[in-house]
């Protein structure tokens, strides 16, 4: 009886995201993010959600589904369609994420070596021209923790370097990577390549 499936929607701090909590596990104790409909090929649940106009991202974690949307359609309207999609998914009895997808995440030590290789080969020789360096601090599951130093620490363009350059380079070579976290204390940088200089 899918009508019995209880789903509550909770707007998030980020206005384009909303978290839907379901009264039963969908992907027990595991998590996977899908940034496009193409990437969702191996997730029947994410495929249903991407079929809804405006849905741009789906994070499935245990009994929660966090949806990112863009476009003018309001959350109440999109939320109803998401509720229907989740109930249809539960009724179909499909797995939320093909178990084989999880197996595609490389082991942590392999991930660490590959990310370090990208930093050594693609990133650091370039940012060194601005006196900067990007260090790999840790890898946990598929989460990457980096720290920016030298001219990158406190630089006005550090975010651009990380999100538009480093992240793109890592994700294009290792699509299984999850979040990439900048742990830098940018306020302590005493030699930023570009320091904010005007109002």
């Amino acid at each position: 009886m899918t009508d019995d499936v209880q789903i509550s929607g909770e707007p998030m701090n980020v206005p384009t995201m909303c978290r839907f909590t379901v009264d039963r596990p969908l992907y027990p104790d595991q998590s996977f993010h899908f940034g496009s409909s193409e990437a969702a090929e191996m997730s029947p649940l994410a495929r249903r959600l991407f079929a809804i106009e405006g849905v741009a991202g789906v994070l499935i974690t245990d009994n929660r589904v966090t949806v990112t949307k863009h476009g003018p359609t309001s959350w109440p309207e999109v939320g109803k369609q998401i509720g229907v999609a989740i109930r249809e998914h539960v009724a179909a009895g499909d797995f939320a994420v093909d178990p084989s997808l999880r197996d595609t995440i490389p082991p942590v030590d392999v991930l660490r070596d590959r990310v370090q290789g990208i930093l050594d080969r693609e990133v650091n020789p370039s940012v060194a021209s601005h006196g900067g360096v990007v260090r790999l601090l840790d890898v946990q599951e598929n989460m990457i923790y980096v720290e920016m130093g030298g001219g990158c620490q406190g630089c006005g363009m550090a975010d651009v370097t990380l999100k538009q350059g480093v992240e793109i380079a890592i994700r294009s070579e290792i699509p299984e990577v999850g979040e990439i976290m900048d742990t830098t204390d940018h306020a302590s940088g005493n030699n930023p390549y570009y320091a904010p200089s005007k109002k």
Binding site: P15, D159, V160, Q164, N190
Partner: protein, 408 residues
């Protein structure tokens, strides 16, 4: 997925807020700056180098980029970029301000002339050349007056003068400031304006198809009487009566119309006088520094979200500003010098109502007091039930902070 061209000067404070908004909007992003990125080779669609200081020269490279990676929206941030953004958007056939109107707004002489021509209240003024032997003569409208450069922002180089000796000194100092600023030229001359007494306010608005909509009205509760005009506190909602706020809106709308601005963010600064609002300046950009962080709309949208959605063509009704009071203090530079550190951040952060402290100057950075000015050492943000409560929180937090300079 639409592609947004974000034109960001490398030294702006605002990069993280804009990148976050772009991520929330779910757009493909290209960041254009005036300097090459060291990692551009990793993401050719993600970077573009444009000569912001020569706006017309931005059109060609932007067109070539657009032919390879089609752009759906353009946003320019900060005074140094808005004219180039208008040129690029026009070149790509996207919604834009007339670059001429943007250039006029960025030139205090031209904007004054256009405001006067359209009957928009603004201070009396006279333009003078620095090499004019009569440059120091008292203005016909008498003292007090204000001497200011034509293009600098954040009240840098703006000096009140109350008599002729003060005028001589101020003009020499403004000349020195202009001479030291790469974005200015002494050949541009300077303005002498009548000093307009009264509370100063800022109206934050969005122009959509030529229609001005108000996003927020900020009070500036610290008296800005001179001799220098370093800004400190912005508070919203305004405590001014609604009739007065309506007049502020009407005057701002008239000012935008006089300048020919039709699209995008606008930040209007006005003085409230007994005979109505007087326009001090109209900036075709959003509020500067990190100050936009005080604004929340609807279910938590930020100003950058509103601006990005507008650039992407969203013309849905604007969400209401969140009702609670909010404010920001731009930390005063005090006597300036080489900054060693800022003490008391934790105590300031613990003040009830304080949302966050952002120290944006880095250790070793040279900070200059006004009128030379810039950059601010940091920002304090607070929220509360009332504007009074927020103002108290900002002052209390500021009292906890100590700027430690090398020489102090």
């Amino acid at each position: 997925m639409p592609r947004l061209l974000l034109m960001l000067p490398t030294r702006t404070y605002r990069t993280p807020a804009l990148l976050s908004a772009a991520a929330r909007c779910g757009v493909e992003l290209t960041v254009a700056s005036e300097e090459d990125s060291s990692v551009a080779h990793l993401n050719p669609a993600g970077f573009l180098t444009l000569p912001f200081s020569s706006p017309d020269a931005c059109a060609g490279p932007a067109r070539a980029f657009h032919d390879e990676f089609p752009v759906d929206a353009v946003i320019g941030i900060d005074d140094t970029v808005v004219e180039a953004a208008a040129v690029v958007a026009r070149e790509l056939g996207l919604p834009h301000n007339n670059p001429e109107a943007v250039a006029a707004a960025g030139d205090k002489r031209r904007s004054r002339e256009q405001l006067v021509a359209d009957g928009v209240p603004c201070p009396g003024f006279v333009w003078r050349a620095f090499d004019d032997p009569d440059r120091d003569l008292p203005p016909a409208f008498g003292f007090p007056a204000v001497v200011k450069p034509l293009t600098l922002s954040a009240s840098r180089g703006v000096i009140r003068v109350d008599d002729h000796p003060g005028m001589i000194e101020a003009v020499a100092r403004v000349e020195s400031i202009v001479d030291g600023e790469p974005e200015c030229s002494v050949a541009d001359g300077f303005l002498v304006e009548s000093f307009v007494s009264g509370p100063e306010v800022a109206l934050e608005g969005l122009l959509r198809d030529g229609q001005l909509e108000v996003l927020a009205v900020f009070d500036k509760p610290e008296p800005l009487e001179g001799p220098y005009f370093e800004e400190t506190i912005y508070l919203t909602p305004s405590r001014l009566p609604s009739e007065c706020q309506s007049l502020l809106f009407e005057t701002s709308r008239a000012a935008c119309g006089a300048l020919g601005l039709t699209e995008g963010a606008v930040h209007v600064e006005l003085r409230v006088t007994g005979s109505g609002p007087v326009v001090i300046e109209v900036n075709p950009r959003a509020i500067g520094g990190l100050c936009s962080d005080v604004l929340r709309f609807g279910t938590g949208l930020r100003l950058e979200d509103i601006l990005l959605h507008h650039a992407l063509g969203d013309r849905a009704p604007l969400p209401q500003r969140v009702v609670s009071a909010a404010g920001v203090m731009m930390l005063p530079v005090e006597n300036g010098g080489t900054l060693l550190r800022v003490d008391g951040v934790d105590a300031a952060q613990a003040v009830p109502g304080v949302e966050r402290i952002a120290i944006t100057a880095h250790p070793g950075q040279q900070l200059s007091p006004w009128p030379e000015g810039g950059p601010y050492p940091g920002f304090v943000f607070a929220r509360g039930e009332t504007a009074d409560e927020v103002e108290r929180a900002l002052h209390t937090a500021h009292a906890e902070l100590t700027l430690v300079f090398e020489d102090s």
